[in-house]
Symmetry: C2
Subunit: 305 residues, 2 copies
Protein backbone atom coordinates (compact mmCIF):
# COMPACT_ATOMS: atom_id res chain seq x y z
CA UNK A 1 0.00 0.00 0.00
CA UNK A 2 1.29 3.43 -0.89
CA UNK A 3 0.55 6.87 0.44
CA UNK A 4 -0.14 8.03 -3.13
CA UNK A 5 -3.04 5.65 -3.32
CA UNK A 6 -4.53 7.01 -0.14
CA UNK A 7 -4.03 10.56 -1.38
CA UNK A 8 -5.89 9.69 -4.55
CA UNK A 9 -8.70 8.14 -2.55
CA UNK A 10 -9.09 11.24 -0.41
CA UNK A 11 -8.83 13.57 -3.38
CA UNK A 12 -11.43 11.53 -5.21
CA UNK A 13 -13.92 11.88 -2.41
CA UNK A 14 -13.21 15.58 -2.10
CA UNK A 15 -13.77 15.98 -5.83
CA UNK A 16 -17.20 14.39 -5.78
CA UNK A 17 -15.91 11.11 -7.23
CA UNK A 18 -14.62 12.75 -10.36
CA UNK A 19 -11.30 11.11 -11.14
CA UNK A 20 -10.30 13.84 -13.54
CA UNK A 21 -10.83 16.54 -10.94
CA UNK A 22 -9.04 14.51 -8.30
CA UNK A 23 -6.07 14.16 -10.61
CA UNK A 24 -5.92 17.90 -11.18
CA UNK A 25 -6.00 18.51 -7.48
CA UNK A 26 -3.04 16.19 -7.11
CA UNK A 27 -1.20 17.58 -10.15
CA UNK A 28 -1.34 14.23 -11.87
CA UNK A 29 -3.05 12.84 -14.97
CA UNK A 30 -6.26 10.84 -14.70
CA UNK A 31 -4.68 7.58 -15.60
CA UNK A 32 -2.28 7.83 -12.70
CA UNK A 33 -5.07 8.37 -10.21
CA UNK A 34 -7.12 5.68 -11.88
CA UNK A 35 -4.26 3.28 -11.37
CA UNK A 36 -3.87 4.24 -7.74
CA UNK A 37 -7.49 3.49 -7.10
CA UNK A 38 -7.60 0.18 -8.91
CA UNK A 39 -4.33 -0.86 -7.30
CA UNK A 40 -5.71 -0.02 -3.88
CA UNK A 41 -8.87 -1.98 -4.56
CA UNK A 42 -6.85 -4.90 -5.87
CA UNK A 43 -4.58 -4.95 -2.90
CA UNK A 44 -7.42 -4.78 -0.41
CA UNK A 45 -9.24 -7.32 -2.49
CA UNK A 46 -12.59 -5.62 -2.19
CA UNK A 47 -14.61 -3.00 -4.03
CA UNK A 48 -14.22 0.42 -2.51
CA UNK A 49 -16.40 2.34 -4.97
CA UNK A 50 -19.93 2.20 -6.22
CA UNK A 51 -19.91 2.26 -9.99
CA UNK A 52 -22.29 2.97 -12.80
CA UNK A 53 -20.50 1.38 -15.65
CA UNK A 54 -17.08 2.96 -15.58
CA UNK A 55 -18.09 6.00 -13.59
CA UNK A 56 -17.48 6.13 -9.91
CA UNK A 57 -20.46 7.37 -7.96
CA UNK A 58 -19.69 6.81 -4.31
CA UNK A 59 -18.10 4.64 -1.68
CA UNK A 60 -19.01 1.20 -0.51
CA UNK A 61 -19.07 0.45 3.19
CA UNK A 62 -15.50 -0.79 2.91
CA UNK A 63 -14.60 2.36 1.03
CA UNK A 64 -15.97 4.59 3.75
CA UNK A 65 -14.01 2.73 6.39
CA UNK A 66 -10.83 2.88 4.37
CA UNK A 67 -11.31 6.57 3.68
CA UNK A 68 -11.57 7.25 7.38
CA UNK A 69 -8.23 5.64 8.10
CA UNK A 70 -6.67 7.05 4.95
CA UNK A 71 -7.42 10.56 6.23
CA UNK A 72 -5.89 9.72 9.57
CA UNK A 73 -2.82 8.26 7.93
CA UNK A 74 -2.25 11.29 5.75
CA UNK A 75 -2.87 13.66 8.63
CA UNK A 76 -0.13 11.94 10.61
CA UNK A 77 2.19 12.19 7.65
CA UNK A 78 1.51 15.90 7.58
CA UNK A 79 2.32 16.00 11.26
CA UNK A 80 5.66 14.37 10.54
CA UNK A 81 6.45 16.95 7.90
CA UNK A 82 5.43 19.68 10.34
CA UNK A 83 7.88 18.28 12.88
CA UNK A 84 10.55 18.56 10.25
CA UNK A 85 9.73 22.16 9.50
CA UNK A 86 9.60 22.94 13.20
CA UNK A 87 13.10 21.66 13.80
CA UNK A 88 14.57 23.22 10.70
CA UNK A 89 13.26 26.69 11.26
CA UNK A 90 11.28 27.04 14.40
CA UNK A 91 10.19 30.55 13.62
CA UNK A 92 8.96 30.29 10.05
CA UNK A 93 5.85 28.88 8.50
CA UNK A 94 2.21 29.73 8.19
CA UNK A 95 -0.37 29.97 10.93
CA UNK A 96 -3.89 29.38 9.69
CA UNK A 97 -6.67 30.40 12.04
CA UNK A 98 -10.40 30.34 11.61
CA UNK A 99 -12.73 32.42 13.72
CA UNK A 100 -15.79 34.62 13.64
CA UNK A 101 -15.84 38.14 12.40
CA UNK A 102 -16.14 39.61 15.89
CA UNK A 103 -13.09 37.78 17.23
CA UNK A 104 -11.09 38.61 14.14
CA UNK A 105 -11.85 42.31 14.40
CA UNK A 106 -12.00 43.01 18.13
CA UNK A 107 -9.91 40.40 19.89
CA UNK A 108 -7.18 39.15 17.62
CA UNK A 109 -5.53 42.41 16.47
CA UNK A 110 -3.40 43.10 19.56
CA UNK A 111 -2.57 39.41 19.90
CA UNK A 112 -1.49 39.25 16.32
CA UNK A 113 0.62 42.36 16.77
CA UNK A 114 2.43 40.73 19.67
CA UNK A 115 2.69 37.43 17.83
CA UNK A 116 4.18 39.06 14.78
CA UNK A 117 6.79 40.82 16.88
CA UNK A 118 7.86 37.49 18.25
CA UNK A 119 7.54 35.57 14.96
CA UNK A 120 7.99 38.05 12.13
CA UNK A 121 8.64 35.22 9.68
CA UNK A 122 5.38 33.41 10.29
CA UNK A 123 2.69 34.17 7.75
CA UNK A 124 -0.87 34.44 8.96
CA UNK A 125 -4.09 33.35 7.34
CA UNK A 126 -7.39 34.19 8.96
CA UNK A 127 -10.43 32.35 7.72
CA UNK A 128 -13.95 33.23 8.74
CA UNK A 129 -17.02 31.09 9.14
CA UNK A 130 -20.01 30.14 11.20
CA UNK A 131 -19.29 28.33 14.46
CA UNK A 132 -20.16 25.03 12.77
CA UNK A 133 -17.86 25.79 9.89
CA UNK A 134 -15.05 26.67 12.29
CA UNK A 135 -15.09 23.18 13.75
CA UNK A 136 -15.31 21.64 10.30
CA UNK A 137 -12.32 23.63 9.11
CA UNK A 138 -10.25 22.41 12.02
CA UNK A 139 -11.39 18.85 11.41
CA UNK A 140 -10.53 18.91 7.72
CA UNK A 141 -7.10 20.46 8.15
CA UNK A 142 -8.13 23.59 6.35
CA UNK A 143 -6.80 25.58 9.30
CA UNK A 144 -4.42 24.85 12.14
CA UNK A 145 -7.02 25.70 14.74
CA UNK A 146 -10.25 27.59 15.22
CA UNK A 147 -11.19 30.16 17.82
CA UNK A 148 -14.79 29.39 18.77
CA UNK A 149 -17.10 31.52 20.87
CA UNK A 150 -20.05 29.22 20.71
CA UNK A 151 -19.86 26.43 23.27
CA UNK A 152 -18.37 23.48 21.43
CA UNK A 153 -19.88 20.12 22.20
CA UNK A 154 -17.42 17.46 23.11
CA UNK A 155 -16.55 16.04 19.72
CA UNK A 156 -14.39 12.94 19.69
CA UNK A 157 -11.10 13.64 18.01
CA UNK A 158 -11.29 17.35 18.73
CA UNK A 159 -9.37 19.02 21.55
CA UNK A 160 -10.87 22.23 22.92
CA UNK A 161 -8.87 24.42 25.27
CA UNK A 162 -10.58 27.28 27.06
CA UNK A 163 -8.94 30.63 26.42
CA UNK A 164 -10.97 33.41 27.95
CA UNK A 165 -14.46 34.25 29.04
CA UNK A 166 -16.63 37.13 28.00
CA UNK A 167 -20.02 38.61 28.65
CA UNK A 168 -22.42 41.04 27.10
CA UNK A 169 -22.97 44.74 27.05
CA UNK A 170 -25.87 46.83 25.98
CA UNK A 171 -25.16 49.61 23.51
CA UNK A 172 -27.41 52.48 22.58
CA UNK A 173 -27.14 56.02 21.28
CA UNK A 174 -25.81 58.36 23.97
CA UNK A 175 -28.53 59.58 26.27
CA UNK A 176 -30.78 56.59 25.78
CA UNK A 177 -32.65 55.93 29.06
CA UNK A 178 -31.73 52.24 29.10
CA UNK A 179 -28.10 53.22 29.61
CA UNK A 180 -28.77 54.72 33.05
CA UNK A 181 -32.11 53.38 34.27
CA UNK A 182 -32.08 51.57 37.62
CA UNK A 183 -33.06 48.91 38.44
CA UNK A 184 -32.14 47.06 35.32
CA UNK A 185 -32.80 43.43 34.56
CA UNK A 186 -33.71 41.11 31.74
CA UNK A 187 -37.29 42.24 32.23
CA UNK A 188 -36.48 45.86 31.47
CA UNK A 189 -34.48 44.83 28.41
CA UNK A 190 -37.58 43.24 26.99
CA UNK A 191 -39.28 46.63 27.01
CA UNK A 192 -37.10 47.71 24.08
CA UNK A 193 -36.60 46.43 20.56
CA UNK A 194 -33.30 44.58 20.43
CA UNK A 195 -30.53 43.92 17.95
CA UNK A 196 -28.15 41.05 18.57
CA UNK A 197 -26.38 38.05 17.07
CA UNK A 198 -28.14 35.48 14.94
CA UNK A 199 -28.65 32.05 16.34
CA UNK A 200 -25.50 30.01 16.33
CA UNK A 201 -23.24 33.01 16.72
CA UNK A 202 -21.58 34.29 19.84
CA UNK A 203 -23.51 32.29 22.36
CA UNK A 204 -26.92 33.16 21.01
CA UNK A 205 -28.46 29.98 22.39
CA UNK A 206 -27.34 30.75 25.95
CA UNK A 207 -28.68 34.21 25.33
CA UNK A 208 -32.15 32.93 24.43
CA UNK A 209 -32.13 30.55 27.37
CA UNK A 210 -31.46 33.34 29.83
CA UNK A 211 -34.72 34.96 28.85
CA UNK A 212 -36.69 31.76 28.43
CA UNK A 213 -35.78 30.64 31.94
CA UNK A 214 -37.62 33.67 33.29
CA UNK A 215 -40.53 33.24 30.92
CA UNK A 216 -39.48 36.32 29.00
CA UNK A 217 -39.45 36.79 25.28
CA UNK A 218 -37.05 39.45 24.01
CA UNK A 219 -38.15 41.51 21.04
CA UNK A 220 -35.24 40.92 18.67
CA UNK A 221 -36.07 43.10 15.69
CA UNK A 222 -32.85 42.40 13.85
CA UNK A 223 -30.07 39.89 14.20
CA UNK A 224 -26.74 39.74 12.44
CA UNK A 225 -23.63 37.61 12.40
CA UNK A 226 -21.20 40.37 13.15
CA UNK A 227 -21.09 43.20 15.59
CA UNK A 228 -20.48 45.94 13.08
CA UNK A 229 -23.86 45.36 11.50
CA UNK A 230 -25.49 45.47 14.91
CA UNK A 231 -23.77 48.76 15.73
CA UNK A 232 -24.83 50.25 12.46
CA UNK A 233 -28.49 49.68 13.17
CA UNK A 234 -28.16 50.77 16.76
CA UNK A 235 -26.83 54.05 15.40
CA UNK A 236 -29.85 54.14 13.11
CA UNK A 237 -32.02 54.01 16.21
CA UNK A 238 -33.56 50.67 15.32
CA UNK A 239 -33.16 49.36 18.84
CA UNK A 240 -30.80 48.48 21.68
CA UNK A 241 -27.74 46.50 20.80
CA UNK A 242 -26.72 43.45 22.82
CA UNK A 243 -23.17 42.62 21.93
CA UNK A 244 -20.09 40.95 23.31
CA UNK A 245 -18.43 43.50 25.59
CA UNK A 246 -15.14 42.91 23.88
CA UNK A 247 -16.62 44.29 20.66
CA UNK A 248 -17.13 47.76 22.11
CA UNK A 249 -14.37 50.18 21.32
CA UNK A 250 -13.90 53.25 23.52
CA UNK A 251 -12.41 55.16 20.63
CA UNK A 252 -14.49 54.15 17.63
CA UNK A 253 -17.79 53.80 19.42
CA UNK A 254 -17.69 57.01 21.44
CA UNK A 255 -21.02 57.98 19.90
CA UNK A 256 -22.61 54.94 21.53
CA UNK A 257 -23.16 54.45 25.23
CA UNK A 258 -22.36 51.08 26.78
CA UNK A 259 -23.75 49.36 29.81
CA UNK A 260 -22.15 46.22 31.16
CA UNK A 261 -24.57 43.33 31.60
CA UNK A 262 -22.25 40.69 33.06
CA UNK A 263 -24.60 40.18 35.96
CA UNK A 264 -27.53 39.29 33.77
CA UNK A 265 -26.12 36.60 31.52
CA UNK A 266 -23.91 33.59 32.11
CA UNK A 267 -20.29 33.94 31.08
CA UNK A 268 -19.47 32.58 27.67
CA UNK A 269 -16.26 30.69 27.00
CA UNK A 270 -14.05 31.16 23.99
CA UNK A 271 -12.16 28.04 23.09
CA UNK A 272 -9.49 27.05 20.67
CA UNK A 273 -10.27 23.79 18.93
CA UNK A 274 -8.00 21.55 16.89
CA UNK A 275 -7.69 17.91 16.00
CA UNK A 276 -6.56 15.95 19.02
CA UNK A 277 -3.80 14.19 17.14
CA UNK A 278 -2.40 17.36 15.64
CA UNK A 279 1.24 18.13 16.19
CA UNK A 280 1.42 21.65 17.54
CA UNK A 281 4.37 23.70 16.41
CA UNK A 282 6.00 25.98 18.93
CA UNK A 283 4.54 29.13 17.44
CA UNK A 284 1.10 27.56 17.45
CA UNK A 285 1.43 26.86 21.14
CA UNK A 286 2.60 30.40 21.67
CA UNK A 287 -0.42 31.80 19.88
CA UNK A 288 -2.80 29.68 21.94
CA UNK A 289 -0.96 30.81 25.03
CA UNK A 290 -1.50 34.42 24.02
CA UNK A 291 -5.21 33.71 23.65
CA UNK A 292 -5.26 32.28 27.14
CA UNK A 293 -3.32 34.97 28.92
CA UNK A 294 -3.88 38.28 27.16
CA UNK A 295 -7.64 38.79 27.21
CA UNK A 296 -9.31 40.22 30.31
CA UNK A 297 -12.94 39.65 31.25
CA UNK A 298 -13.88 42.91 29.56
CA UNK A 299 -12.17 41.80 26.36
CA UNK A 300 -9.32 44.27 26.75
CA UNK A 301 -5.81 43.29 25.83
CA UNK A 302 -3.49 42.74 28.77
CA UNK A 303 0.18 43.60 28.30
CA UNK A 304 2.50 40.65 28.34
CA UNK A 305 4.25 39.61 31.52
Amino acid sequence: MELRQLRSLVALEESGFNVTAAAQRLHLVQSAVSQHLTRLEDELGTELFMRQGKRLTGLTEAGRQVLYYARKTLADCDNILAIGREHVEEATGTLRIATTHTQAVYVLPPLIREFRQRYPQVKLEIQQGTPEQLVEMALHDQVDFSVCTEAVKEIPGITAVTCYRWNRSLIAPLGHPALTAKPFSLGEICDYPLITYVFGFSGASQFRNSFARLGLEPDVVLSAVDTDVIKTYVREGLGLGLIASLAYSDTHDADLGRRDLSGLFPWELTRVVYKSDKYLRKYEEVFIDLLQTRIADDGKYVEGS
Copy 2:
Protein backbone atom coordinates in the same frame (compact mmCIF):
# COMPACT_ATOMS: atom_id res chain seq x y z
CA MET B 1 7.89 10.67 2.38
CA GLU B 2 7.32 6.96 2.04
CA LEU B 3 5.83 4.37 4.32
CA ARG B 4 8.98 2.28 3.91
CA GLN B 5 10.98 5.01 5.55
CA LEU B 6 8.65 5.07 8.52
CA ARG B 7 8.76 1.30 8.78
CA SER B 8 12.53 1.44 8.87
CA LEU B 9 12.42 4.09 11.56
CA VAL B 10 10.13 2.01 13.74
CA ALA B 11 12.08 -1.17 13.13
CA LEU B 12 15.29 0.62 14.02
CA GLU B 13 13.95 1.72 17.35
CA GLU B 14 12.59 -1.74 18.06
CA SER B 15 15.97 -3.23 17.25
CA GLY B 16 17.85 -1.07 19.69
CA PHE B 17 19.18 1.22 16.96
CA ASN B 18 20.94 -1.57 15.19
CA VAL B 19 20.43 -0.97 11.49
CA THR B 20 21.46 -4.50 10.57
CA ALA B 21 18.91 -6.02 12.91
CA ALA B 22 16.22 -3.63 11.72
CA ALA B 23 16.92 -4.66 8.16
CA GLN B 24 16.56 -8.33 9.01
CA ARG B 25 13.28 -7.66 10.74
CA LEU B 26 12.07 -5.99 7.55
CA HIS B 27 13.54 -8.63 5.24
CA LEU B 28 15.80 -6.09 3.61
CA VAL B 29 19.54 -5.51 3.44
CA GLN B 30 21.21 -2.94 5.66
CA SER B 31 21.95 -0.55 2.90
CA ALA B 32 18.28 -0.27 2.01
CA VAL B 33 17.32 0.62 5.58
CA SER B 34 20.25 2.95 5.81
CA GLN B 35 19.00 4.76 2.74
CA HIS B 36 15.48 5.00 4.13
CA LEU B 37 16.76 6.62 7.25
CA THR B 38 19.04 9.10 5.57
CA ARG B 39 16.34 9.95 3.03
CA LEU B 40 13.86 10.57 5.80
CA GLU B 41 16.32 12.77 7.62
CA ASP B 42 17.10 14.64 4.42
CA GLU B 43 13.48 15.20 3.60
CA LEU B 44 12.63 16.43 7.07
CA GLY B 45 15.78 18.47 7.01
CA THR B 46 16.72 17.68 10.55
CA GLU B 47 18.70 15.07 12.45
CA LEU B 48 16.53 12.32 13.84
CA PHE B 49 19.27 10.20 15.38
CA MET B 50 22.00 10.61 17.91
CA ARG B 51 25.23 9.30 16.50
CA GLN B 52 28.62 8.18 17.70
CA GLY B 53 30.57 8.36 14.53
CA LYS B 54 28.60 6.20 12.13
CA ARG B 55 26.71 4.26 14.77
CA LEU B 56 23.24 5.26 15.69
CA THR B 57 22.67 5.36 19.42
CA GLY B 58 19.29 6.95 19.95
CA LEU B 59 16.74 9.49 18.88
CA THR B 60 16.86 13.24 18.99
CA GLU B 61 13.85 15.16 20.20
CA ALA B 62 12.69 15.48 16.60
CA GLY B 63 13.25 11.77 16.14
CA ARG B 64 11.08 10.90 19.10
CA GLN B 65 8.29 13.07 17.81
CA VAL B 66 8.53 11.64 14.32
CA LEU B 67 8.59 8.10 15.69
CA TYR B 68 5.37 8.73 17.55
CA TYR B 69 3.53 9.79 14.43
CA ALA B 70 5.23 7.14 12.32
CA ARG B 71 3.79 4.49 14.61
CA LYS B 72 0.35 6.03 14.31
CA THR B 73 0.63 6.22 10.56
CA LEU B 74 1.64 2.59 10.21
CA ALA B 75 -1.04 1.47 12.62
CA ASP B 76 -3.67 3.16 10.48
CA CYS B 77 -2.25 1.50 7.40
CA ASP B 78 -2.61 -1.82 9.18
CA ASN B 79 -6.18 -0.89 9.94
CA ILE B 80 -6.80 -0.30 6.26
CA LEU B 81 -5.40 -3.70 5.39
CA ALA B 82 -7.58 -5.22 8.10
CA ILE B 83 -10.64 -3.60 6.53
CA GLY B 84 -9.66 -5.24 3.29
CA ARG B 85 -9.37 -8.64 4.88
CA GLU B 86 -12.64 -8.15 6.68
CA HIS B 87 -14.53 -7.47 3.49
CA VAL B 88 -12.86 -10.22 1.52
CA GLU B 89 -13.49 -12.97 3.98
CA GLU B 90 -15.31 -11.88 7.05
CA ALA B 91 -14.84 -15.18 8.80
CA THR B 92 -11.14 -15.82 8.33
CA GLY B 93 -8.05 -14.40 9.89
CA THR B 94 -6.20 -14.56 13.17
CA LEU B 95 -7.36 -13.40 16.56
CA ARG B 96 -4.50 -12.54 18.86
CA ILE B 97 -5.39 -12.20 22.52
CA ALA B 98 -3.20 -11.56 25.52
CA THR B 99 -4.30 -12.37 29.03
CA THR B 100 -3.16 -13.85 32.31
CA HIS B 101 -2.73 -17.50 32.99
CA THR B 102 -5.86 -17.69 35.12
CA GLN B 103 -8.13 -16.17 32.48
CA ALA B 104 -6.63 -18.30 29.77
CA VAL B 105 -7.16 -21.50 31.71
CA TYR B 106 -10.42 -20.93 33.58
CA VAL B 107 -12.45 -18.36 31.69
CA LEU B 108 -11.58 -18.47 28.02
CA PRO B 109 -12.01 -22.17 27.19
CA PRO B 110 -15.82 -22.23 26.87
CA LEU B 111 -15.81 -18.87 25.09
CA ILE B 112 -13.22 -20.08 22.66
CA ARG B 113 -15.22 -23.23 22.04
CA GLU B 114 -18.26 -21.14 21.16
CA PHE B 115 -16.17 -18.72 19.13
CA ARG B 116 -14.60 -21.50 17.13
CA GLN B 117 -17.98 -22.98 16.32
CA ARG B 118 -19.01 -19.66 14.89
CA TYR B 119 -15.68 -18.86 13.22
CA PRO B 120 -13.97 -22.16 12.50
CA GLN B 121 -11.63 -20.45 10.03
CA VAL B 122 -10.24 -17.93 12.49
CA LYS B 123 -6.92 -18.91 14.00
CA LEU B 124 -6.32 -18.07 17.62
CA GLU B 125 -3.17 -16.94 19.37
CA ILE B 126 -3.14 -16.57 23.11
CA GLN B 127 -0.25 -14.66 24.60
CA GLN B 128 0.40 -14.46 28.31
CA GLY B 129 1.94 -11.74 30.39
CA THR B 130 1.82 -9.63 33.49
CA PRO B 131 -0.98 -7.05 33.64
CA GLU B 132 1.50 -4.37 32.64
CA GLN B 133 2.71 -6.43 29.73
CA LEU B 134 -0.87 -7.02 28.59
CA VAL B 135 -1.42 -3.32 28.10
CA GLU B 136 1.93 -2.95 26.39
CA MET B 137 1.15 -5.76 23.98
CA ALA B 138 -2.12 -4.11 23.00
CA LEU B 139 -0.36 -0.77 22.60
CA HIS B 140 2.38 -2.18 20.40
CA ASP B 141 0.06 -4.15 18.13
CA GLN B 142 1.51 -7.43 19.30
CA VAL B 143 -2.05 -8.59 19.99
CA ASP B 144 -5.49 -7.46 18.86
CA PHE B 145 -6.62 -6.91 22.42
CA SER B 146 -5.84 -7.89 25.98
CA VAL B 147 -8.11 -9.26 28.66
CA CYS B 148 -7.04 -7.54 31.87
CA THR B 149 -8.11 -8.39 35.38
CA GLU B 150 -6.10 -5.74 37.10
CA ALA B 151 -7.84 -2.39 37.11
CA VAL B 152 -6.46 -0.51 34.13
CA LYS B 153 -5.73 3.13 34.65
CA GLU B 154 -7.21 5.43 32.08
CA ILE B 155 -4.46 5.51 29.49
CA PRO B 156 -4.90 7.95 26.65
CA GLY B 157 -5.17 6.13 23.37
CA ILE B 158 -6.40 2.94 25.00
CA THR B 159 -10.04 1.92 25.07
CA ALA B 160 -11.11 -0.33 27.93
CA VAL B 161 -14.49 -2.02 27.90
CA THR B 162 -15.74 -3.76 31.01
CA CYS B 163 -16.63 -7.40 30.42
CA TYR B 164 -17.49 -9.10 33.67
CA ARG B 165 -16.86 -8.89 37.37
CA TRP B 166 -15.50 -11.45 39.71
CA ASN B 167 -14.69 -11.97 43.34
CA ARG B 168 -12.66 -14.23 45.56
CA SER B 169 -13.05 -17.57 47.16
CA LEU B 170 -11.14 -19.30 49.87
CA ILE B 171 -9.92 -22.79 49.14
CA ALA B 172 -8.57 -25.32 51.60
CA PRO B 173 -8.25 -29.08 51.99
CA LEU B 174 -11.63 -30.66 52.69
CA GLY B 175 -12.51 -30.53 56.35
CA HIS B 176 -10.42 -27.47 57.11
CA PRO B 177 -12.18 -25.48 59.87
CA ALA B 178 -11.97 -22.20 57.89
CA LEU B 179 -14.37 -23.66 55.33
CA THR B 180 -17.26 -23.84 57.79
CA ALA B 181 -16.40 -21.58 60.72
CA LYS B 182 -18.91 -18.84 61.50
CA PRO B 183 -18.65 -15.92 61.84
CA PHE B 184 -16.07 -15.35 59.15
CA SER B 185 -14.45 -12.08 58.24
CA LEU B 186 -11.16 -10.64 57.13
CA GLY B 187 -10.05 -10.83 60.72
CA GLU B 188 -10.49 -14.61 60.86
CA ILE B 189 -8.67 -15.00 57.58
CA CYS B 190 -5.65 -13.37 59.14
CA ASP B 191 -5.47 -16.18 61.66
CA TYR B 192 -4.25 -18.54 58.96
CA PRO B 193 -1.25 -18.58 56.68
CA LEU B 194 -2.38 -17.52 53.20
CA ILE B 195 -1.47 -18.24 49.62
CA THR B 196 -2.61 -15.83 46.91
CA TYR B 197 -1.61 -13.89 43.83
CA VAL B 198 1.57 -11.85 43.65
CA PHE B 199 1.28 -8.12 43.57
CA GLY B 200 0.13 -6.79 40.23
CA PHE B 201 -1.86 -9.90 39.41
CA SER B 202 -5.57 -10.41 39.68
CA GLY B 203 -6.41 -7.39 41.73
CA ALA B 204 -3.77 -7.95 44.33
CA SER B 205 -3.60 -4.28 45.21
CA GLN B 206 -7.31 -4.08 46.00
CA PHE B 207 -6.80 -7.23 47.99
CA ARG B 208 -4.12 -5.64 50.15
CA ASN B 209 -6.18 -2.51 50.58
CA SER B 210 -9.14 -4.44 51.92
CA PHE B 211 -7.03 -5.63 54.81
CA ALA B 212 -5.13 -2.41 55.30
CA ARG B 213 -8.33 -0.44 55.63
CA LEU B 214 -9.17 -2.48 58.71
CA GLY B 215 -5.65 -2.26 60.07
CA LEU B 216 -5.11 -5.95 59.39
CA GLU B 217 -2.06 -7.57 57.98
CA PRO B 218 -2.61 -10.90 56.25
CA ASP B 219 0.05 -13.54 56.62
CA VAL B 220 0.79 -14.31 52.98
CA VAL B 221 3.30 -17.13 53.16
CA LEU B 222 3.43 -17.69 49.43
CA SER B 223 2.28 -15.78 46.39
CA ALA B 224 2.19 -16.85 42.77
CA VAL B 225 1.14 -15.49 39.41
CA ASP B 226 -1.20 -18.29 38.53
CA THR B 227 -3.89 -20.15 40.35
CA ASP B 228 -2.56 -23.63 39.68
CA VAL B 229 0.53 -22.92 41.72
CA ILE B 230 -1.62 -21.63 44.55
CA LYS B 231 -3.78 -24.75 44.47
CA THR B 232 -0.73 -26.97 44.51
CA TYR B 233 0.53 -25.49 47.75
CA VAL B 234 -2.91 -25.45 49.30
CA ARG B 235 -3.00 -29.20 48.67
CA GLU B 236 0.39 -29.41 50.33
CA GLY B 237 -1.18 -27.87 53.41
CA LEU B 238 0.96 -24.75 53.28
CA GLY B 239 -2.02 -22.48 53.96
CA LEU B 240 -5.40 -21.24 52.85
CA GLY B 241 -5.75 -20.25 49.21
CA LEU B 242 -7.38 -16.99 48.21
CA ILE B 243 -8.18 -17.19 44.54
CA ALA B 244 -10.54 -15.80 41.96
CA SER B 245 -13.78 -17.76 42.29
CA LEU B 246 -13.79 -18.41 38.58
CA ALA B 247 -10.60 -20.42 38.97
CA TYR B 248 -12.23 -23.08 41.12
CA SER B 249 -13.36 -26.13 39.21
CA ASP B 250 -16.05 -28.37 40.72
CA THR B 251 -14.68 -31.35 38.89
CA HIS B 252 -10.91 -30.97 39.09
CA ASP B 253 -10.77 -29.41 42.51
CA ALA B 254 -13.15 -31.77 44.28
CA ASP B 255 -10.39 -32.51 46.81
CA LEU B 256 -10.45 -28.88 47.86
CA GLY B 257 -13.26 -27.14 49.67
CA ARG B 258 -14.33 -23.68 48.56
CA ARG B 259 -15.91 -20.84 50.46
CA ASP B 260 -17.25 -17.81 48.63
CA LEU B 261 -15.89 -14.51 49.96
CA SER B 262 -17.77 -12.06 47.72
CA GLY B 263 -19.01 -10.20 50.78
CA LEU B 264 -15.55 -9.49 52.09
CA PHE B 265 -13.79 -7.99 49.09
CA PRO B 266 -14.79 -5.44 46.49
CA TRP B 267 -15.73 -6.79 43.10
CA GLU B 268 -12.97 -6.77 40.54
CA LEU B 269 -13.61 -5.84 36.92
CA THR B 270 -12.19 -7.66 33.96
CA ARG B 271 -11.74 -5.41 30.97
CA VAL B 272 -10.77 -5.78 27.38
CA VAL B 273 -8.28 -3.16 26.28
CA TYR B 274 -7.21 -2.19 22.80
CA LYS B 275 -5.89 0.85 21.00
CA SER B 276 -8.64 3.40 20.62
CA ASP B 277 -8.01 3.89 16.94
CA LYS B 278 -7.98 0.21 16.16
CA TYR B 279 -10.33 -1.05 13.48
CA LEU B 280 -12.28 -3.93 15.00
CA ARG B 281 -13.09 -6.77 12.69
CA LYS B 282 -16.49 -8.39 13.04
CA TYR B 283 -15.13 -11.49 14.70
CA GLU B 284 -13.18 -9.37 17.15
CA GLU B 285 -16.36 -7.61 18.15
CA VAL B 286 -18.07 -10.95 18.50
CA PHE B 287 -15.36 -12.22 20.81
CA ILE B 288 -15.57 -9.15 23.00
CA ASP B 289 -19.32 -9.55 23.05
CA LEU B 290 -18.88 -13.12 24.27
CA LEU B 291 -16.64 -11.87 27.06
CA GLN B 292 -19.32 -9.40 28.07
CA THR B 293 -22.30 -11.75 28.01
CA ARG B 294 -21.14 -15.25 28.84
CA ILE B 295 -19.48 -14.96 32.22
CA ALA B 296 -21.60 -14.98 35.38
CA ASP B 297 -20.54 -13.46 38.67
CA ASP B 298 -19.28 -16.83 39.84
CA GLY B 299 -17.13 -17.14 36.70
CA LYS B 300 -19.30 -19.88 35.24
CA TYR B 301 -20.02 -19.95 31.53
CA VAL B 302 -23.55 -18.93 30.58
CA GLU B 303 -25.07 -20.62 27.54
CA GLY B 304 -25.67 -18.31 24.60
CA SER B 305 -29.03 -16.69 24.11
